[in-house]
Symmetry: D2
């Protein structure tokens, strides 16, 4: 399969950027979970393009219509399907580049994979637009997590050299995670926001783009959930996070920083606090042996700069097999990272609900 995740729940994404509609089917959700549609909308609005110069000017309403699986405000437990009809399509913009490979895009690899039958308009199924139903799925899962006392959240950790503060890996709270969600530009520090906006705007003015890092956390997740080896929390989270286009790396806890550390520095000593086992530090990012430790789950995902830049680039027409100069038109985010924040959160939410449902104990 390709666009279907199967674990404790099943998530089937579908759609192409300029097709009739995009959406998702969620199977195996627990029944009777109250879903607040307004808050689903708020979650998705965080991913929607902004009018502040940081993102594309394409304006999709992106209001998902729920076709099944919700009855009298609660999940039925049978498949929940949601569809977003595409309305604001400017397919014309893409007419002239259909066989010239856009660098860092999947035009060429998609052409090979699907023998030239895939929908090339706007990236087709490779479009970042498919993260809209991913966010819908993540928003539904987020509410299910909340019913268990679990809160997730994410922020922009860095963009092109400008760094935000880190979440405190030991003491990050649900309140902090909620607070950053309410910010139009999700950084922990307001100073960082200003600098990052400047970097993004400068890149846009310069017909360029920039990359960055998103940091994501979960608090309240119970200890003892997950599995060793191939279905651990790290395995599942990373598998889903890499479904977000432009992600090129993921690390948990100290991550790549581990490479420069001694065991005596990196090991998190256990202690008892309020009758509960905790660790004094949280270099392990809340996961040991694929299983949650009860400490906050912390990970970071690296995003490449938006591939679509408006400068001329050298490329190849892969049908005529000739070298060509490419001029990309259309509307593009100079930086995907601000809009990627809820996507990373959505990926985590899906992974955590899946892990909870695979566990033999967490149940109604």
């Amino acid at each position: 399969m390709s666009s279907c995740f199967n674990g404790g729940i099943t998530v089937s994404l579908f759609g192409e950027s300029h097709g009739k509609g995009i959406g998702v089917v969620l199977d195996n959700l627990p029944s009777g979970e109250i879903i607040d549609l307004e808050r689903i909308g708020a979650f998705m609005a965080r991913r929607a393009p902004k009018k502040d110069g940081t993102s594309t000017t394409r304006s999709e309403k992106d209001i998902p219509e729920i076709l099944s699986g919700l009855y009298e405000g609660k999940t039925t437990g049978t498949p929940l399907a949601a569809v977003i009809m595409n309305t604001d399509q400017h397919s014309g913009d893409y007419g002239n580049i259909s066989h010239i490979a856009r660098p860092a895009h999947a035009d060429y690899t998609g052409f090979l994979r699907y023998d030239d039958a895939n929908d090339p308009r706007g990236g087709g199924h490779f479009s970042g637009r498919i993260t809209a139903p991913l966010c819908f799925a993540g928003a539904v899962c987020g509410q299910i997590l909340e019913h268990q006392g679990i809160t997730t959240g994410a922020h922009i950790l860095s963009i092109k050299g400008i760094s935000d503060e880190h979440f405190d890996p030991v003491n990050v709270t649900a309140e902090q995670l909620e607070l950053v969600k309410s910010r139009p530009f999700p950084t922990l520090s307001e100073f960082t926001e200003t600098e990052m906006r400047e970097v993004i705007n400068a890149a846009r003015m310069d017909l360029n783009s920039v990359g960055g890092i998103v940091e994501c956390a979960a608090v309240g997740f119970p200890a003892g959930i997950g599995s060793p080896m191939l279905d651990g929390l790290e395995n599942i989270i990373s598998r889903i996070v890499f479904a977000i286009p432009a992600v090129k790396g993921i690390e948990f806890g100290n991550g790549f920083g581990c490479a420069d550390m001694f065991g005596s520095e990196n090991n998190d000593e256990f202690t008892i606090k309020d009758g509960k086992v905790i660790t004094k530090t949280n270099n392990h990012g809340g996961i040991l042996g694929g299983i949650s430790s009860g400490m906050p789950i912390i990970f970071r995902a690296a995003f490449k700069p938006t591939p679509s830049i408006l400068r001329p680039q050298n490329s190849v027409d892969f049908k005529s097999m000739t070298e060509q100069e490419l001029i990309i038109k259309g509307r593009h985010d100079p930086c995907v990272v601000p809009r990627a924040v809820p996507c990373v959160e959505a990926a985590l939410n899906i992974a955590l609900v899946s892990a909870l449902l695979e566990d033999p104990r967490i149940r109604r």
Copy 2:
């Protein structure tokens, strides 16, 4: 599930560190693939403990016995099962720590996950020893890849601040990948080896341990293999790589480096060389939209320092719920990275064979 990977092939790992045996079942392998058992043994020897002070002194023969799936030197296409009987067990060494959580180990999380029924001796199923059958599976898959003209390899990129050269992401060759496999300490540069050995030995003398980074590559992998979204090459590779205990991060191509780059720097321009579409640079690590581009596949995995250090550590007895000082005994690698190199390669081999078999075209 937990210790079972299901894709184009199925890999079911089993075993506990101090149980009767460990092993793996590989299902859905192509039939008729010639398997050279001596070279399987050579692959596994690269993972086996060394007598050079960099690893544990536990000496396991680790010769897998193949029970099924191989007939007259070729895969039958029906399940291939291999078993390694445990012979050199010093369970006594672990007697006194069974309920005091070793920091950075899965003792406490495993206790919670399995309600105190899991085998605690030597880490049980969480033991790094389960990477032996993973390597067996990877060695078998590596030979299947070779039959398709694909070569994979890995080296130690860094240990505690000492860095090896990188693979040349555009020009790395099969010969280079084979060469580093033949080295007793798998670095590209011999100078690096000396420095790294010193760092590891110093840590060992200091009753400490160190982490590091493994870089891994594949050349000859055909373009157009993989899928967008949830079953892309990055999703599958990362899912399997995180099955290796101690991995805390993974990145493809430029990975986390993307965060500090402009699109104009990171985008790899396409060109034509010898009638083939290639990219001039390979910041994308050979994967675009989850699908291979035909360029070398390049990724890096970060390993935490070995959790088992011989210094006293503060911890908790999670059965009596009391704080305790912990003294770890037993035999432990001061750095897992050298032995992790073939494990990372094995994970890649499994992922690539799986992806090839899921593709609708690669076939006999």
Copy 3:
């Protein structure tokens, strides 16, 4: 999971009888397959209610809208999603029975399974209406099979003691399978049709219902496809056929008839005809060891009488836990078998495409 099939292809069904819409997502289809939408419509029309007294008078247009996965008349290879909006809903008819269990229906078991949160209107996700997207999926798969020279078809073998002829298990042809599809009442013999219609009408007049058997066949399916043990053709076909509500049995080739036979009678001797290995008889139904033999695939599925009968029945209100008399209203088929014929065919089509794609050789 529950409403999602994962094999060589993935099929995710969704929807409730009286919800907004029903549909299906097909993932991992081969790309570039030409799909004729008119013929999809013709396939689905065979399942639609008839105005001849044999079925419910509910009239759904059941025209599926394809949202993704089809571009310029061909499959893109990325997920194909189709939605049927519900338009002719008479939910009121069901108001008074919501907590009185209709015998032989899933009201009570669904109530328990979903803790009273499932949509009870018209059976919700348990409704036979969900076979409409199943037929859509089967119709798409049927066209993919045709491109490989494979034809499937089915007919009513028996209804309440009235038996049609059997397919000739050795000599059934694609033409015969096509012919029976064109008949408004799919029997091989026209005489049988008259008798069966009488039995159904008599049951309807008597406020009763009747069951029956559907026989299904595939010709042109290549030999050597399938697998032993758990993913054989019989395993896959039976798993999908039991997704059709009201199926209570399935048998391949001689099926239950085997119980009364000697090996010397049941064994199909091999011979050579036109340079090809065939069997002289086809008691094995085209499948040996889970793998196709090249002979026609033949199986039969047993359907129970429609549970909804308009006679008073004794039952239980499972919320108040009181015994109650039940009077079912609404529109119901006195016999589901005629409309089930394309459903069984659809199940076979999905199973065969899945098996072809799981095989290591059948490819573009």
Copy 4:
């Protein structure tokens, strides 16, 4: 995949009839389940060849060695692997038939499927011998079911026209199910046993074989377990039962008998007994809409006559493509049905544990 079942638990079977060993890996079992190895042995002894003329004279000890997953008598929750080494191999017996297709066997289809690379000795992976690890897995699952108050059992319902009594579908008890397990020839009626033995012996003397039907039941299984559509109890049970070689049909409750019934006859009316909802009759076989109703689960599986008969048969050498007379030697059961009884039970046990673990509520 082929020999791997993935649901609430994962079952990976492996081995070839004349290879080194056969076995199974069970993943995702609940931890802490006490397993009585003597009773596992007793279960497997029911499948082992008998010395009473009804089965092959091959004598395998078939004592499984457990390599992992069991610690201090309890499941660890990590993969449970069991191996049976092959000891009594007479490969010579099969030497002369390796390329002449045995009618009703998978020699020819296996040859095609695996391109002549599969192990042909004694049927290789297609051998009925692989039901030994299936029975091991079923025996383990049976003990897990018992811990939940669930009992399963099966008996020979018919052999070549001789019929045993049916289980009483409403009132069958755990005691009756246990009783039939203790009988050397598992029929409900002792008279039937004598007649069936005569039929089998007559077939053996006549160098022939006979088929039959096994009836299987579960009592104590909680109501509300299972799912509609593709992962219902019928789907899962049938998928696993068809893994038993020689099964050609399965039916639940009234099964094929439904075809001749009126709805008014087949519908099971609900009533209340001892404060519990039950049905007065059990034509539905304990499953409605894929979900358990709380009534006994009842199904029947049809077995074809043993393909290996000692009479000359016409066949084809599929390598030389010539017609040949075939004389089968070796040791073969004249009827597989008596030994198939525990296999069917094992399949049910695996299916029921899997369904329990997929349910969101049944947990420790």
